[in-house]
Amino acid sequence: LEGQVPHAKAKYVPTSGAYPQGFVVSGTHVGVKASNTRFPDLAIIASEKPCSGAAVFTKNKFQAAPVTVSREVLQKRGGSGIRGVVINSGCANAVTGKQGIEDARSMAAEVDRCFSAQGEPDDGQGSSTIVMSTGVIGQPLPIAKILSKIPTGHANLDSSHDAWYLTARAIMTTDTFPKLMTREFTLPSTPNVTYRLAGLTKGAGMIHPNMA
């Protein structure tokens, strides 16, 4: 992926970071868009242990299937016992009807299955995975392709800077550079403990968010 970031934007792309403990990530090539023959387009961000989770979603009346499914996951669990997020780029899975909902649920279920296969007990509260998609609207997801690569993405989960970089790269659409940041901080009650924040984001067009 070297040389892919425009020179003027290189200053915004970190070459290292202090990442939060207990989080592992991966970026995997699927080829959601047939024209994408080399870049990662499937991201998984996971906590090694179940964690707290919260999300805000678009207030657009036409909400994409992953928005509906992720809201269900968080509501059902009350924001507890979340394991991670799975994201594909290249296809938004928006305005795709009942099949879109099924596809979004399948993506989450496949990530859940990968964790179960590691011997983790099922807590009986349904999926613990948040789903996101981004890309063109109105096309069905190539779900078989995506599902077939989730185990690879799960197997490649890692905490290194390179893994975070690839993950940030995997969620890009018309973005020209991966957007990744980290920060360290302390809290008043535990001044000797250093906590960390890592964040990745994407977006370049169709941007005027109004989320709740």
């Binding site: 989080f23 906590s47 707290s52 989770g53 919260a54 979603f57 981004t134 973005d175 809290l187 370049a204």
Partner: protein, 232 residues
Amino acid sequence: TLLGIMCTDAPVAPEALKSILTYAVDRSFNAISIDGDTSTNDTVALLANGAAAPPTPFKTIKESTPYSEDYLQLRDTVTSFAADLASLVVRDGEGATKFVTIRVTNAASYEDAKKVASSIARSPLVKTALYGKDANWGRILCATGYASECGVDSVVPTETSVSFVPTDGSPELKLLVKGEPEAVDENRAAQILEEEDLEILVRLSEKPGEEAVYYTCDFSHEYVTINGDYRT
């Protein structure tokens, strides 16, 4: 579409996480505009696993009234972090050549200030003027004025002032003071607009009040090229 994921190893209870995220997003990802279009997929998630917390005592940050110091510190840290992340999105706006901060001050309420800032940030005429490096305060004022259609009551033409604030720390360039146009030094304006970063400061009154910040970019030929070519 905007997507964002933030992860922390601080220990945070779900209800606190939810309110921290909402507060942070309102002041960051919900305060940016590239082209004024709200996507079907916009989502920002925040995960907290407590992995860095000392084993004993394990203190989980909870929302409470009055808010604890830890809660407020974490909320402000996440807010500033989210604003920096959101800024990266604006810097990568399709075809963008400028990063513009719109600061609206002295409003009757935070909501009023944010609506005015949003109105300016999504105005195609303001954004094309910025691309053309034109200190066109008339378009800024126009967008400020029609924010009243969104329920803003605190815009009073004779109390409104507009300035460009350079990012190099030099004094602001006043374009309009209390509704009266200033004699603008065009060379100075051109100098300021030559820079990638710019702040537009709109004071709705001389009296102290609430402030909101919005981040946006200019509109260029390249935006039309990119989106004319993009296929659904």
